[in-house]
Amino acid sequence: MRTSLLAAAATVLALACAAPAHALGPPDSHSPNADAINSAFWVLLVVVVAVVVVINAALIVALVRFRERRGREASRFAAGRGALRPVVGALSLLAVVIFVYGVVVTNDVREIEQSGPNGLGAAQTAQVGVKGLPASAAIEGTESATGEEPITDAEPTETSPLQIDAIAQQWLWRFEYPGGQPGQRTFTYGELVVPVDTTVILDITSTDVLHTWWVPALGGQVQAAPGDVTRTWFKADEEGRYPGRSTVFSGTGYPVMRAWVRVVSVPAYQAHIERLKAGLAEAQGIVQQTQQEQSTPESAIREEGE
């Protein structure tokens, strides 16, 4: 039995070693908040592995040394008063150290950094607080679709991070870019396009059930709850396309509730937005035209005839 246990342990160990090193950790981070999350992961992984190894090694040693054998007698001892004090002290110390580290690294993740030199609005950078935002940054402007007080002007100025509304629904993400009145904003579905090296603030909500915003390379999970706005941020340091997915069950289409963030250069981003706006204007033109046609008497008669 012991040998089989050891064999099992060896198999597990071999499996763990055979897995490529990167597989042991989360995907590479491309944003300061994801960096902090990943570093916390690695620190805690060391703690977890140490705890698991210590407990299992102690069990195996105790098992091997003190299993029933011929001529051995159990020594009937128990802990005296205070015998466990060092253990309690050490464990408390461990808990306190992890707690302090946890608080520090949590603040690290929450602290919104300014846009970098290559990002949108690089000339001047905004002072943006941890949560809740300084009044200086909030300029009277259009209301955001999520109802959250906007922190930027309608147009992304030189002084503001890019604020985007991410609205979840079964089973798609809708991203509304800054600019324009609600309902007339530039938007995309599924894929969010953002400029590199720019602080992006996401105001996340849902129109139906619970979803999660989670792009591992760009930060942690954030719940999208109807009637609530949760805010997260990232600042992508490299161009690329980063996959994300929802992690809360939302019905039949839940596995396809995925999201992508495409990080492009600033000119490419601006061109993309312009293209979107043009496409949107064109589409709205067509809609208006159709509506006008339908409101003419002929079309009304035709509709009735059908």
Binding site: A8, P26, I37, L59, V87, G102, T106, G220, Q223, T247
Partner: protein, 605 residues
């Protein structure tokens, strides 16, 4: 004064006339005796466990290759909505409760429970709850996910009655558990034997006391949440409707308090059983009775307060998440003390490696992994990374299956002779354990790596481009091995109930607590006479006093494993047994080696 024997004592219960003999199954089903109720709980929980295992295997079959189309999404989502609630609410928790119902009153030397009818009623509520959930498969199965989180569980998104069945079934079972908890708390408070102060109460009963309070405190929250959900669904309520000023978050809070409580109940029951098994088989007292009891209480208090540890991604105030992290990390101390005490209990003893011991050790090992992982998700940023991925799900299974199932089987192996006078098959039990342990670890490790690649929980398919194909294949194979192990052990238990080797006497392990003072199985009134309790190990005291009164010091003989029908080859302790172990057991076949599982029928009938 002679050694107390059970056969000589005068019966204390006198009846007028002969009771009408009814069929045994009617007797079992209608009896309010805590042992009958306990057996019903255990049997039903094990039946639901086999259901959960099969459902789990089906889901893993669907996930064995990417974009598999073997099981339709709707069917998968039905399995998804029933398997977790079956494992937790219908199997792991009631298995723990069944063992507590049977053993805890015996351990405290009680002749019954304080509120026997409430106790019995709790079982029937639980059964009706389970049947309600599964009966819905005949019409429309639940499909609103593992916890039926609103708004998804509102009629807009899941209009079928399956969700109502889920809500009703879970609420009924939970109501049953609350009734159970009330009876348990009163029983442990009021019916302890003379001298059995709290500081001398056996550790499994200590765990039971904390479990009772957890049920009483967290159960009503879930019932309230489910009631509100049902009002929302059919009676125009707006408790969780964001459009009308309600908050879906409220349900999450209440449900997580309950499921955190259920998780802790499973852990505490397993920890209580392990704290009985290790001293018994190491032939030495637990390293620190006080520390273990204090740890149980601390876990029971701190654990539910850390419920928001599951909700770091939700729109919560930062202060609340920090508070949740503080409570979750504070659990390091009591849980760490438990593990320390367990190892220290083995240290210096002579650990007899029977199936029970192996199960207990495997449960410790699995729970160590699960709880260490839980520690890491308690740190908020790591929670943001790994909550609701298969990493944390696998980790939770380490405690629910490692503690609830493997630990539950450890307890079942340990107390099986008390339940029916027979041993639970040792050889087959060890084989099943090996399958379970290897399967669980392979599954959890593969899922841990898949979760780091970003695989979320509860999906019915995953895509090839996400890099988790290999992990899912390995995880599925591990899960199949685990399920085979569970089913094998269930079969083993079912077979051993009538065909297992007869246990040697009423105290086959040389236990130290009062349940081993009773006959196996105990009579309806449990004890003819209850000894005065003067320490945490009353039976050990009795053996010592008998040994002293016999006037001769009998050195404990080396524990030899004598092949053949040599009686009493295992040293001094069996002779000192107070229970009326008589002739029929002495000549039973090969009493010291009952782990030859095939020879079950050779014992004396």
């Amino acid at each position: 004064m002679t050694a107390p024997t059970l056969t000589d004592s005068r019966p204390e219960v006198v009846t007028r006339g002969v009771p009408v003999a009814r069929k045994p199954w009617i007797e079992r089903a209608t009896s309010a005796d805590h042992k009958a109720v306990g057996l019903l709980y255990i049997a039903t929980a094990l039946s639901f466990l086999s259901l959960a295992a099969v459902e789990f295997a089906l889901m893993r079959l669907q996930l064995i290759v990417p974009q598999n189309s073997m099981i339709q999404p709707e069917i998968f989502n039905r399995l998804l909505s029933t398997a977790p609630v079956t494992l937790v609410v219908l199997a792991a928790v009631p298995l723990a409760l069944g063992l507590i119902a049977y053993i805890a009153p015996l351990q405290i030397g009680a002749r019954g429970v304080a509120l026997p009818r409430l106790h019995q009623f709790s079982y029937w509520l639980y059964v009706v709850g389970g049947v309600t959930i599964y009966a819905s498969f005949l019409w429309a199965a639940p499909e609103s996910g593992t916890m039926a989180l609103p708004p998804l569980s509102d009629t807009v998104f899941t209009p079928t009655n399956g969700t109502d069945a889920w809500i009703a079934g879970t609420a009924l079972a939970t109501l049953g558990f609350v009734c159970f908890g009330i009876n348990l708390v009163v029983t442990l408070n009021r019916l302890r034997a003379p001298g059995l102060a709290w500081r001398r109460m056996p550790l499994f009963s200590w765990a039971a006391a904390v479990v009772g309070w957890l049920l009483v405190v967290t159960g009503p929250m879930m019932i309230a949440a489910l009631t509100m959900l049902e009002i929302d669904r059919h009676f125009d309520g707006v408790f969780f409707d964001p459009g009308e000023g309600g908050a879906p978050l409220l349900y999450e809070h209440l449900a997580y308090v309950y499921f955190t409580g259920a998780y802790l109940i499973v852990f505490l029951a397993a920890a209580g059983a392990i704290s009985e098994i290790l001293p018994t088989f190491s032939r030495k007292p637990i390293f620190s009775h006080r520390a273990v009891a204090a740890s149980f209480v601390a876990i029971g208090v701190l654990g539910p307060l850390a419920w928001m540890q599951n909700m770091y991604s939700a729109p919560l105030n930062e202060g609340w998440t920090i508070m949740a992290m503080a409570f979750a990390l504070a659990l390091i101390v009591p849980i760490g003390v438990l593990f320390y005490v367990w190892v220290a209990t083995i240290w210096g003893g002579t650990l007899e490696l029977r199936a029970t011991t192996w199960y207990a050790l495997a449960a410790i090992s699995a729970m160590a992994i699960g709880l260490a992982g839980e520690l890491s998700y308690s740190v908020i940023p790591v929670g943001w990374l790994l909550d609701d991925t298969v990493t944390s799900q696998g980790d939770t299974l380490n405690v629910l299956v490692g503690g609830g199932v493997i630990g539950g089987f450890a307890a079942l192996h340990y107390w099986f002779p008390k339940l029916c006078g027979r041993l639970l098959g040792e050889g087959l039990g060890k084989v099943a354990l090996l399958l379970m342990f290897v399967g669980l670890n392979v599954y959890v490790l593969a899922m841990a790596l898949a979760g780091l690649e970003g695989q979320p929980v509860d999906v019915y398919k995953y895509f090839e481009d996400t890099g988790v194909d290999g992990y899912n294949l390995i995880a599925s194979l591990g899960a199949f091995v685990l399920v085979i192990g569970i089913l094998l052990e269930l079969g083993n238990a079912a077979y051993s109930w009538n065909n297992g080797l007869r246990a040697r006497g009423h105290d086959p392990w040389g236990g130290a607590t009062l349940e081993w003072f009773a006959l196996s199985p105990p009579p309806p009134h449990n004890f003819d006479a209850v000894p005065d309790v003067r320490s945490t190990e009353p039976l050990h005291d009795i053996r010592e006093s008998i040994r002293r009164r016999a006037g001769a010091f009998v050195a404990p003989a080396p524990l030899e494993r004598v092949p053949g029908p040599a009686p009493a080859g295992a040293g001094a302790e069996p002779e000192a047994e107070p229970g009326g172990d008589g002739a029929p057991t002495a000549e039973s076949a090969d009493p010291t080696r009952p782990d030859t599982s095939d020879g079950g029928t050779s014992s004396v009938a």
